[in-house]
Amino acid sequence: MEKILDFKIKGRDFINAGESTSKMKNYFKKIGISSKIIKRILVASYEAELNVVAHADSGVMEIFVDEDKIVVTVEDEGPGIEDIDRAMQEGFSTASDEVREMGFGAGMGLPNIKRNSDDLEIESEVNKGTRVKMVFNVS
């Protein structure tokens, strides 16, 4: 597995979230990944990034190439997820009122990640943090 890109993520910083998107997009275009797959990677990664911004304190996103797969990991320091199965359900959200006012908190992020990735692993420890690993087959 070879790391190709990484980004720092700051909690509460909704404005700069998504800056990674265009850098990732340009990179993927250059190495010849098809636009349909690029779209899926970007959607899933953006949701994972937003979850750090909305629910955690800080984190990093790293992008790897592994033969014919793209692997995106998002790791954060934050409250962690108590019940992952529950968090995966559509509509489940613990987003604060402040976050909801900004138009987030529909509880659709994780289901969206699931739908757009070929493989998803979530590890989390309460009061410590969360690690989301998404795998995308590109060939």
Partner: protein, 443 residues
């Protein structure tokens, strides 16, 4: 017409080019390089927008175009003119005078592109009524269509599946003429009077079509010059009455200024003009749809087609004249001319992407090369001066890794740094005393 081969109108005259790099800096797709002292165009990247033509101080970049006299090869000669033409005349602010003047060019029938706008707007309206799932993009500016094919292939499905207004106008004029005069298609020459190299390119190689629609294309510059010449003649009559039944204010304004909202009042529509603005918007749609916008009408040129490379009048002045002329026409017509009889409005085949080749077909090799490019890029000064012949330092890094003829010493800053270090080493080396001499000294 093979899929791969890309016909271009924008061309460099090597004899005139002095390699000044001016064009490199404005090319929106980074398609230009200076190699061996002369500008070259990377064929798979160029979208024929003509921005480089505008800025070249040597007039070394031009557009391929047909000569007016090719019309004599045809028995029946038909012309579709870009309606931008009506804003080019200081002397005539009257539409009928201009049309009378044009009748001296030798065509049997002439219509403006605005008739295409009138016809296609109705088709697009009924399409949009049933398709509100995404932001649709018009096909009017061929440079935008090709930009999307080359750089934003994921947005191909956002393009309207219809011909642009010039092609619609052409099909309409030909069909009408054949019906009215009972002539065969093979005896007809259909021509376009273009405001820009991009539309000329689209005449030679229409995207989404199986064959050419127009038999030739002329530049507005040249035709304007011809008309100026005719204007000076004594025996011309410009007051003949001409019936203008299919002209509306909104179709005139949409086809010249990109006034799209006047045509699509029940929808949210936007005009985006200027290639940099177009690029910024496409990047944004690519990263997430603007659900509230139904339609974007995009033009590579500032102010839309009035800013075309072949126009001679200032675009703002031209816009003012067109608005003035357009205001004398009704907002709509009672009956829109025969729409899509035999469906001549839809594209004949779906638009296909034409993405620039990835840096390597094998993904892990591509990743390796990307790493190398990053490494080289770190060593470059990031001044983006273009003196090396590549538009930016990053482009040079790419060119060094992907093209064996290009070297890091093409960068004058790196070259000087290296020479300086070498000189330092030389100086130090030269300052050492020869060990043999030393021995002699001691004896």
């Amino acid at each position: 017409m093979s899929e791969k081969e890309y016909i271009h109108t924008v061309t460099i005259n090597k004899k005139r080019c002095i390699g000044c790099t001016r064009c490199l800096r404005v090319c929106p797709t980074k398609a230009l390089r200076i190699r061996n002292g002369k500008a070259i165009i990377l064929q798979d990247r160029c979208i024929d927008c003509g921005e480089c033509i505008r800025v070249c101080p040597q007039k070394a970049i031009y557009s391929k175009i047909d000569d007016l006299d090719i019309i004599n090869n045809y028995k029946h000669k038909l012309l579709v003119y870009s309606s931008v033409l009506i804003g080019q005349f200081k002397k005539y602010k009257n539409f009928k005078k201009i049309l009378n003047l044009m009748s001296y060019l030798g065509f049997d029938e002439i219509v403006g592109v605005d008739i295409g706008a009138l016809i296609i707007s109705d088709v697009i309206r009924s399409f949009l009524k049933h398709n509100r799932d995404k932001t649709y993009i018009t096909t009017n500016c061929p440079a935008v269509v090709r930009l999307i094919q080359v750089k934003y292939p994921s947005l191909i499905d956002n393009m309207l599946p219809f011909k642009n207004m010039m092609d619609v106008a052409g099909e309409y004029l030909k069909k009408e003429y054949m019906k009215k005069n009972q002539v065969k298609e093979k005896n007809i020459g259909l021509f376009y009077l273009s405001p820009c190299p991009s539309k000329a390119q689209a005449v030679y190689q229409p995207e989404g079509e199986v064959k050419r629609i127009f038999d030739g294309v002329f530049s507005m510059e040249e035709v304007y010059n011809n008309l100026r010449y005719i204007m000076e003649k004594k025996d011309i009559h410009l007051d003949k009455d001409i019936e203008l039944e299919n002209v509306t204010e909104s179709s005139l304004k949409w086809s010249t200024l990109g006034d799209v909202d006047s045509q699509f009042k029940d929808f949210t529509s936007l005009r985006i003009d200027g290639i940099d603005n177009v690029i910024e918007f496409l990047e944004e749609i690519e990263e997430g749809d603007f659900k509230e916008i139904d339609l974007v009408d995009m033009y590579s040129c500032q102010n839309g087609c009035v800013g075309g490379v072949f126009t001679n009048e200032n675009p703002f002045v031209c816009e003012h004249r067109i608005r003035h002329i357009a205001s004398s026409f009704p907002d709509s017509v009672d009956e829109i001319p025969p729409i899509c009889e035999g469906d001549y409005c839809s594209l004949s085949k779906p638009l296909k992407p034409r993405p620039v080749e990835p840096i390597d077909k094998n993904m892990s090799n591509a990743v390796k090369k990307m790493k190398e490019i990053e490494e080289v890029f770190k060593k470059l000064p990031k001044l983006n001066c273009s003196i090396c012949g590549s538009p930016t330092c990053y482009n040079l890094a790419e060119d060094i890794v992907l093209n064996e003829d290009v070297s890091i010493y093409d960068c004058p800053v790196v070259l000087r740094r290296n020479l300086r270090n070498m000189a330092k080493d030389l100086f130090e080396m030269a300052g050492r005393i020869d060990p043999i001499e030393e021995k002699k000294d001691k004896e």
